[in-house]
C-alpha cells in the first residue's frame, strides 16, 4: 500500500514547524498548545477504512455465530457429560462450551466496538473547559440569604422549645429500631461455659459410633470422640459438636510432663478439646513423636504431653483437658464437664 495511490486532497497539510516558536523564545518550557492531529491510514485511504469496516463487521458476525453456538451447546450437551480437553484435563462439556461461546460472543462485540472506535471514529482531540466547582460569590450570597430567610420564617432560632423537643424526638426515635434487634439472639449468660460432657457420659468414637475402650487407643494414634447420646440428626448437633469435639491420644504415663494432666488421664490416655483456643478451628494434625498437635487454620501448636500448652502460633492459652476414667463396662467415660470454657477466649472467660 504505497502513498502514491492516496488522493492528494486526502493527505494532511504540512505541520507548522514554527508552532509555538514565538513563545519559546521567552519561556523555553511554555505550553506549545495541542499538537496537530496526525491522521491514521483510515483517515486518508478509503480502502483502509473499508478494510476496517469489514473487520468490525466480521467480529460482530462471529459474535452472532457464537451466540447460536451457545444455544446449540445448551441443547446438545447433557449436564453430566465429561470430556477431555487439552490442556485442561477432564472438564464438563457443557460448562466449557457454554463459557467459551458466551465469552466469545461478548468478547467479539467488545473487540468490534473498540476497533471501530480506534480506526473509524474521529480521533481528533478536543479540549473542553473546566469550571470551578465552587459557586460564584453572588450565588453563595443568594443561597445564604435564602437559607436565612427560611430559617427566620420557621422561627427555629427563636422558638427554642420547639427546636429542642424536635431534636429530642428525632434522637429517640431510632431507639425503636435498636430495641427491635434484641431478639436476634439470646444473651450469652453461661452458654459458652458448658458442653454436653458430664459425669458418666461415655466417649463415643466419631468414626465407628461405638463407645471407646482403653485398649482401642494405642500410642501414636489420634482418635476423635463425642459424647454418647449426641445423634448426627439432632437439630442442635452442629452447635453441640462445635463445643464437645474431643481428641484422644495415649502417651506413656512417664512421658507426661504435666502433673495434673497425668492425674486426669486414664493409664496415659488423655482427652483434650479439639477446638482451638485461638479462634475455634478444629485441630486435626498430630505429630506422633513429639505429641504436638497443630491447628491447620492458623498453625497454633500445642504440646499434648505438657498440659497442651501453646508452643507456637497465635493461640493464647492451652487446650482444655477432659477428666476421664473407665466405667463398669470397661468403656471410657467423662468424669465431669470441662473445667474451663472450650474454644476461643472471650471477655467473660476469666
Amino acid at each position: 500500500m504505497s502513498s502514491q495511490q492516496i488522493p492528494e486532497t486526502n493527505l494532511p497539510v504540512e505541520q507548522d514547524a514554527a508552532h509555538g516558536a514565538v513563545e519559546a523564545a521567552a519561556d523555553p518550557f511554555a505550553d506549545p498548545g495541542l499538537p496537530a492531529h496526525r491522521p491514521r491510514i483510515q483517515d486518508i485511504d478509503e480502502r483502509a477504512a473499508r478494510r476496517s469496516e469489514r473487520a468490525v463487521a466480521f467480529m460482530f458476525t462471529l459474535s452472532m455465530l457464537a451466540t447460536i453456538g451457545f444455544i446449540a451447546s445448551y441443547v446438545i450437551f447433557p449436564v453430566d457429560k465429561i470430556v477431555y480437553i487439552w490442556p485442561l484435563g477432564h472438564v464438563s462439556a457443557l460448562n466449557f462450551s457454554l463459557g467459551m461461546t458466551l465469552g466469545l460472543a461478548l468478547f467479539l462485540i467488545g473487540t468490534g466496538a473498540v476497533h471501530w472506535a480506534r480506526t473509524l471514529m474521529s480521533d481528533v482531540e478536543v479540549a473542553d473547559d473546566r469550571h470551578a466547582i465552587e459557586a460564584e460569590p453572588e450565588v453563595k450570597a443568594k443561597v445564604m440569604a435564602d437559607f436565612a430567610a427560611g430559617a427566620k420564617e420557621s422561627a427555629i432560632g427563636r422558638r427554642k422549645l420547639i427546636r429542642n423537643t424536635m431534636f429530642g424526638a428525632l434522637a429517640l426515635v431510632p431507639l425503636s429500631g435498636v430495641v427491635l434487634l434484641r431478639d436476634l439472639g439470646p444473651l450469652p449468660e453461661k452458654k459458652l461455659r458448658s458442653t454436653l460432657w458430664a459425669k458418666g457420659k461415655q466417649l463415643v468414637n466419631m468414626n465407628t459410633m461405638e463407645p471407646l475402650r482403653p485398649e482401642d487407643i494405642v500410642v501414636g494414634s489420634l482418635t476423635f470422640a463425642m459424647p454418647e447420646g449426641l445423634e448426627e440428626d439432632a437439630h442442635d448437633f452442629q452447635t453441640q459438636i462445635a463445643k464437645a469435639a474431643l481428641m484422644i491420644i495415649r502417651i506413656e504415663p512417664d512421658n507426661i510432663k504435666d502433673k495434673r494432666e497425668r492425674e486426669w488421664a486414664h493409664e496415659g490416655i488423655v482427652a483434650f478439646s479439639k477446638i482451638c483456643t485461638h479462634v475455634g478451628c478444629p485441630i486435626s494434625l498430630y505429630e506422633q513423636q513429639t505429641h504436638h498437635v497443630l491447628c491447620p487454620c492458623h498453625q497454633s501448636t500445642f504440646d499434648l504431653s505438657d498440659g497442651a500448652r501453646v508452643i507456637f502460633g497465635p493461640a493464647g492459652h492451652a487446650l482444655p483437658q477432659l477428666r476421664i476414667g473407665v466405667n463398669s463396662e470397661g468403656n471410657l467415660e467423662a468424669l465431669g464437664d470441662f473445667e474451663e470454657p472450650v474454644g476461643p477466649a472471650f471477655w467473660e472467660r476469666g
Partner: protein, 541 residues
C-alpha cells in the same frame, strides 16, 4: 394546531420519542451537557471501568443464582447427581449449591462467573485505588470521591466474605468460625454480638440466611448507591489528565463520549464480561463439591480465604498469642490487636488525602495528575502501605508458602513479624531514592536533551554522545509539575519583640512539610535560565 404541524413535516420516529421523553424528563438539557463530554485517554483510566463492569456482571449473575440457591441450614440428605456426596448429610444451602453446579444447565458457569467477577472486582478496586493514590488524583475536589471509592473497597471485601460463606462448605464454614472467634475477642460486647449475629451459639441455624440478606440486599444496596454517587462525581468533576502540551488545569483534553467513548467504554464492558466468561469456562473457582459440607469439628488443611481477606488473615496468623487475665476477665490481645490493626491500616488509606492537604495547606483544585516520581514522599508512603499489605498476604498464606517452597512455617511467621515493621521503612526509603533519581534524570533530559545513542568523534580524537534536544512539548511536559516549598513556622518573635510560641501542631506540620518538600526530598526542577545558559551556543557537546 396539530393539523398545522402535520402538514409542515413529520419528524423521524426517534426524534418524536426523544421529544416525548424531553417533555417529561428534560433529556435535551442533560444531553447538551453530557453527550459530547470529553474524556482523556490513558490506559490507567481503564482500571476503574473494570471495577464498574465486574460489579454489573456480579449483579446480573447474582440475581440468576438467587433463583436456584436455597439459603437454609435445614439438614437434608443429598440425593442429587454428584455421586461422591450421595447420602451425605448437609445443609440445604450446600445441597442447592451442588444442584446449581451439577443439575442446573449453565449453573456452574454462572456461579463461576459470579465468583471470578468478584475476585476481579476487588483486585480492580485495589489497583484503581493505587492509580488514584500514586497520581494524586484524590486531591481537591475529589477527596469525597476517594472516600466513596474506599468504602466500596471495604464493603466489597465484606460482600465477598458473606458471599463465599453462603454455600456452607467446609472451607467457608471454617472462615465463619474464624470470624466468630474474632468477634468473641472484642472486650465486653464480643459474646453479645456473637450471640445476636448467630442467633445463639456457633454455628446455630440462622447464620446462612442472615448472611444471605446481608450479601444480596444490604451490602450491594449500599454499594450500588455508592457506585452511582462515585460516577456522578466523576462526571461532575470531569476527568483528571496528565500534563502535556495543550493540557492545563483549566481544561480537559480527549475525545467525546459520543461516539468514541460510547464505543470504547461500551465495548470494554463486553471485553471484561467475555474475558470473565472464558476464564470461567477454563478455570475452576471455589470447587465446593471437593470440600464437603461444613461441620464444626472437621477442617481441611491449607484453608485460605479469598485473596482480599488474606491480609486480615495474615495479622491473625502471625500475632503472638497474648492474653491478659485480670479481675475475672480475659482480654484476648492475640486476636484483638490484629482486629484493630486491620481497621487502622485501612483507615490510614481513607484519611491520607486529608493529612496531605493539611501538610501542604493547598486548598486549590487539582486536575493535572502528578507523575509518581514528582511526589517522592507520597509515592514512598504508598509503596510502604502496599508492602505491609503484601507482607501480610504472605503471613495469611504462611502454610501455603511453607509447603510449596519447603520452608519452615515458624521461619515464615518470624519473617512476617519482622517485615511488618522493617519492610515498610525499607520500601519507603528505597522508593523515595528511586523517585529522586528519576527526577534527576528528567532534569538532565530537559537540560541536556535525550541520549541519541549516536557517537561522534571530535577532531582531537575525543568521543562524545550526541544529545538531541527535546521538543517544546516534551520540555513542557517534564517541567509542568509544581513544587511546594516547605511550610515554615516563621519568626518566633514578632515585630514588637514579643515572643510567640508555635503550637505543637504547627511544629509537627513544619516537620512533616520539610520531610515532604525539604531540599533533599525533592529535586528542584530546571529553570528557564539554567536551560538558556546551557543551550545558548557553546553549551552543547
Amino acid at each position: 394546531m396539530s393539523t398545522a404541524t402535520e402538514t409542515k413535516r413529520k419528524a423521524p420516529a426517534g426524534e418524536r420519542v426523544a421529544d416525548w421523553a424531553d417533555g417529561r424528563l428534560g433529556i435535551y438539557g442533560l444531553a447538551k451537557a453530557n453527550m459530547r463530554k470529553i474524556f482523556p485517554d490513558h490506559w490507567s483510566f481503564m482500571l476503574g471501568e473494570i471495577c464498574l463492569y465486574s460489579f454489573i456482571i456480579i449483579i446480573l449473575t447474582g440475581v440468576y443464582l438467587t433463583l436456584f440457591f436455597n439459603p437454609s441450614m435445614n439438614e437434608v440428605v443429598y440425593h442429587g447427581s454428584y455421586e461422591p456426596m450421595q447420602g451425605i448429610r448437609m445443609s440445604a444451602a450446600y445441597a442447592s449449591t451442588l444442584d446449581i453446579s451439577f443439575d442446573v444447565r449453565g449453573g456452574l458457569l454462572v456461579r463461576q462467573i459470579h465468583h471470578w467477577a468478584a475476585i476481579i472486582f476487588l483486585a480492580g478496586m485495589f489497583v484503581h485505588m493505587f492509580r488514584v493514590f500514586f497520581t494524586g488524583a484524590y486531591r481537591k475536589p475529589r477527596e469525597i470521591n476517594w472516600l466513596f471509592g474506599f468504602l466500596l473497597f471495604v464493603l466489597g471485601m465484606f460482600t465477598g466474605f458473606t458471599g463465599y460463606s453462603l454455600p456452607d462448605d467446609l472451607l467457608s464454614g471454617t472462615g465463619v468460625r474464624f470470624t466468630q472467634g474474632a468477634i468473641l475477642a472484642m472486650p465486653i460486647v464480643g459474646t453479645y454480638i456473637s450471640m445476636f449475629l448467630f442467633g445463639g451459639e456457633f454455628p446455630g441455624t440462622e447464620i446462612i440466611s442472615r448472611f444471605y440478606s446481608i450479601h444480596i440486599l444490604l451490602l450491594p444496596g449500599i454499594m450500588l448507591g455508592l457506585v452511582v454517587a462515585h460516577l456522578i462525581l466523576v462526571f461532575f468533576h470531569k476527568h483528571t489528565q496528565f500534563a502535556g502540551p495543550g493540557r492545563t488545569n483549566k481544561n480537559v483534553v480527549g475525545m467525546p463520549l459520543l461516539p468514541v467513548y460510547m464505543a470504547k467504554a461500551g465495548g470494554f464492558f463486553f471485553l471484561v464480561f467475555g474475558f470473565i466468561a472464558i476464564l470461567s469456562a477454563i478455570a475452576t473457582i471455589n470447587p465446593i463439591w471437593a470440600l464437603g459440607p461444613y461441620r464444626p469439628d472437621q477442617v481441611s488443611t491449607g484453608a485460605q480465604p479469598d485473596w482480599y481477606m488474606g491480609f486480615a488473615e495474615g495479622f491473625v496468623r502471625v500475632m503472638p498469642g497474648w492474653e491478659i487475665n485480670l479481675w475475672g476477665h480475659t482480654l484476648a490481645l492475640g486476636v484483638l490487636i490484629p482486629l484493630v490493626l486491620f481497621g487502622v491500616v485501612l483507615a490510614a488509606l481513607a484519611l491520607y488525602p486529608f493529612i496531605e492537604s493539611w501538610i501542604t495547606g493547598d486548598k486549590r483544585e487539582h486536575h493535572i495528575l502528578d507523575r509518581p516520581r514528582n511526589a517522592p514522599t507520597r509515592t514512598g508512603l504508598g509503596v510502604a502501605w502496599v508492602t505491609i499489605y503484601f507482607v501480610m498476604l504472605i503471613g495469611g498464606g504462611n502454610d501455603i508458602w511453607a509447603t510449596h517452597f519447603h520452608l519452615s512455617l515458624n521461619a515464615i511467621s518470624w519473617f512476617v513479624r519482622i517485615a511488618f515493621f522493617v519492610g515498610p521503612v525499607v520500601a519507603f526509603i528505597v522508593t523515595r531514592r528511586i523517585c529522586l533519581g528519576l527526577q534527576r534524570r528528567d532534569k538532565e533530559k530537559v537540560l541536556h536533551g535525550r541520549e541519541s545513542g549516536t557517537i561522534k568523534r571530535l577532531p582531537h580524537g575525543e568521543f562524545v554522545e550526541i544529545h538531541e534536544p527535546l521538543s517544546q512539548g516534551q520540555l513542557h511536559t517534564l517541567t509542568a509539575h509544581e513544587q511546594y516549598k516547605p511550610f515554615e513556622i516563621g519568626p518566633t518573635v514578632d515585630e514588637n519583640g514579643v515572643e510567640r510560641k508555635p503550637s505543637a501542631v504547627q511544629k509537627l506540620r513544619a516537620r512533616l512539610s520539610r520531610g515532604y518538600y525539604g531540599e533533599d526530598n525533592q529535586i528542584a526542577k530546571p529553570t528557564a535560565e539554567e536551560y538558556k545558559e546551557i543551550t545558548s551556543g557553546h553549551g552543547h557537546h
